[in-house]
């Protein structure tokens, strides 16, 4: 690597001085503020800091001190990962890359003054603002459920405590009980995620509670990797999983978190665990910044800049960018294109043409991994799909095991790419 650690310790000291009096600046180093320390934000911050050799001030705003990845959280549910293995610190980004990591909530954006307001009261100026806040939920999208019910009926669609809660509830299910999932409508984070989760819960139940049932209420006609999941469910978990699609009322549902019932098409079913995954929208700060149109933030494909404000870039799940799925891999891929473009705009470095890729791995049962992937390019209109592949039904056990091993390697690779 070409960057020099000592240079960055210097950069950190300079930045700390800046933060002490954020609005009084004598120095002219351009400032990038990144909101959200996940696959999009952490990657963007790291690449801008790494590749600009200290020429750009980078501040990363992220409320969590330990980041629990949402990707691979299903493997924790299935018993294939420890929760601690999903936790990552921002220490290396601060210590080795000179990024000013601020553990706070961004609560306001003044686009005219180009400042970000923090819940703690500080105001951070920026030349470029990168928003990568992930998802929030659409109020009222599941009748009977709101955030106050997330303990009784967890969403577990943001990594961390919700994931642990859901697993504890599965473990506490009565013998022969029912695990219910309310699956989300499109578009949402991690298209195969709900169905990998069903697979992992089934794997766990098969071990600890083999007569238990899984009921999915799904508003979608079809879902990601459907043929692969359905083949796997029939092989590994025969008779355990029932999916109610929209033709059978899967879109017409409500829940009662007090009574613990799921009502599908007017018929109430008592359930023991209810995983409610509501409809999704861009993380709230994108809306506060005024860069959303409807639920998502439209961006230009070449540099992920907002179509509403060219000084703001939006990455990952929050962005309406075109054909890429909302995944950690996509956010990481977009972040590197964005970082290259932002660095070019602020320091005159070479901007190379945008190129994107994505692969989503899913685990169906022990050593039964599948994947789907595609490459993308930037067009005037959107990020457009170029080419792709998907695992095939009937693949050999060796290939499926290799695919799972590859996903573990990807997890190690992407988290190193995010956190250093």
């Amino acid at each position: 690597m070409s960057f020099d650690r000592r240079q960055f310790i210097g950069a950190t000291a300079a930045l700390s001085a800046t933060l002490a009096a954020p609005m009084v600046r004598a120095q002219a180093r351009p400032r990038v503020v990144v909101v959200g320390g996940g696959a999009g934000g952490a990657t963007a911050a790291r690449y801008i800091a790494k590749d600009s050799d200290g020429a750009i001030d980078v501040t990363l705003i992220e409320p969590s001190r330990a980041y629990y990845t949402c990707f691979f959280s299903n493997l924790y549910l299935g018993g294939f990962r420890e929760i601690d293995s999903l936790a990552h610190s921002y220490g290396t980004l601060a210590a080795d890359y000179g990024i000013n990591v601020v553990h706070d909530w961004a609560v306001g954006v003044d686009r005219d003054a180009k400042t970000v307001a923090l819940a703690g009261g500080a105001s951070l100026p920026y030349d470029r603002l990168i928003l990568s806040p992930g998802i929030d939920f659409v109020d009222g999208s599941v009748a009977g459920w709101d955030l106050s019910a997330q303990n009784a009926m967890p969403h577990a669609y943001k990594g961390g405590s919700q994931t642990e809660l859901l697993k504890a509830q599965v473990m506490a299910m009565p013998e022969g009980g029912t695990f219910a999932m309310v699956a989300p409508p499109n578009p949402y984070r991690c298209p195969p995620g709900p169905y990998e989760r069903v697979s992992m819960v089934a794997h766990l139940l098969k071990e600890v509670n083999p007569t238990a049932k899984i009921l999915i209420a799904d508003p979608k006609e079809a879902f990601s990797k459907q043929g692969l999941f359905e083949e796997g469910w029939a092989t590994h978990y025969p008779g355990m999983i029932e999916r109610v699609g929209p033709e059978m009322g899967g879109a017409d549902i409500s829940v009662d978190p007090q009574a613990m019932t799921l009502t599908i098409d007017g018929e109430a079913t008592p359930v023991d665990v209810c995983n409610v995954i509501p409809a999704m929208k861009a993380g709230r700060i994108a809306e506060i910044a005024g860069v959303t149109d409807g639920n998502w933030a439209p961006v230009n494909a070449a540099d992920l800049s907002s179509k509403i404000d060219p000084s703001i870039h939006v990455l990952g799940d929050s962005a309406a960018q075109g054909d890429m799925p909302k995944s950690g891999f996509s956010a990481n891929s977009q972040a590197k294109v964005c970082a290259n473009a932002v660095r070019g705009a602020l320091t005159g470095s070479t901007v190379f043409p945008a190129r994107f890729s994505n692969t989503c791995w899913s685990l169906i049962d022990t050593d039964d991994g599948v994947k789907v992937g595609a490459t993308y390019e930037a067009t005037e209109e959107k990020i457009a799909r170029v080419d792709g592949f998907i695992s095939q039904t009937g693949e050999s056990a060796e290939l499926r095991a290799a695919t799972y091993q590859e996903s573990i390697g990807w997890y190690d690779g992407i988290t190193a790419d995010m956190f250093g």
């Binding site: 890729s357 994947k371 592949f389 590859e406 690779g413 790419d417």
Partner: protein, 234 residues
């Protein structure tokens, strides 16, 4: 393969083919094939239903009742190469001359301009292009075996731009990291091995679908740039 023969054939038929010499028979990427053939595979697939009574796409699908040969690896194949069919005198003549099929000759044949025989004519220019796009994609020869592919010395000698390579390598870094792991480390590979491996993925001589996809859109220069970058960080 380059054809010495069809130019002569075309001349003798009086077909006014301003030969663009776009006879690259090594294309394997469907999008590049579509661009080269000027058609759409999906449209060609629909049109091909009129051809499939007589022609199978691959040898294993050929039926004895079909009047014409299978079209497996048609682009680059010798004329009248599949035994057991009643080829026209014109096709037999081409066969005797050792001609091989490529796009412009096939286009002229479908148009009825290449030979005076009884093969059905496809009237529309775009229809011909669509059919040829589809057939070419659907009849690609199987990929070479790993180790079979030889990267030409002039390609190995391309001097890559390490700065561009560093940018391109950011795509790799989403999965590959230094040190051992479930996805192999690539930063310390021998340059020639790395370049050959990437060409093998692009030619589908290696099996990993993710890597085939990544390599599919890398040019020779981009592979060289990646190699130059990885060498620069040693």
């Amino acid at each position: 393969m380059r054809l010495p023969v069809l130019s002569a054939v075309l001349a003798c038929c009086g077909a006014s083919l301003a030969m663009s010499q776009s006879l690259d028979l090594t294309l394997t990427d469907p999008d590049q094939i579509a661009a080269e053939c000027g058609g759409t595979a999906a449209a060609g697939e629909v049109l091909f239903t009129s051809c499939s009574a007589c022609h199978a796409l691959q040898p294993e699908d050929a039926r004895p009742t079909q009047a014409g040969p299978h079209l497996g690896a048609l682009f680059g194949r010798e004329v009248a190469a599949v035994d057991g069919y009643a080829y026209s005198p014109g096709l037999r003549q081409l066969q005797a001359e050792g001609a091989i099929w490529e796009r412009e000759a096939l286009h002229a044949y479908l148009q009825g301009d290449l030979l005076p025989d009884t093969h059905p004519v496809v009237a529309g220019e775009q229809d011909r292009r669509d059919i040829l796009t589809f057939v070419r994609v659907a009849t690609l020869p199987p990929p070479p075996a790993r180790g079979e592919l030889v990267v030409p010395p002039e390609v190995l000698a391309i001097e890559g731009d390490p700065a561009y390579g560093e940018y391109l390598a950011s795509e790799c870094a989403g999965c590959h990291r230094s040190g051992s792991g479930n996805v192999p480390a690539i930063d310390l590979l021998d340059g020639e091995y790395f370049i050959t491996a990437m060409h093998e993925y692009r030619a589908r001589a290696r099996t990993n679908e993710t890597m085939r996809l990544i390599a599919a859109r890398l040019t020779d220069e981009e592979i060289a740039a990646l190699a130059a970058y990885y060498l620069s960080i040693e």
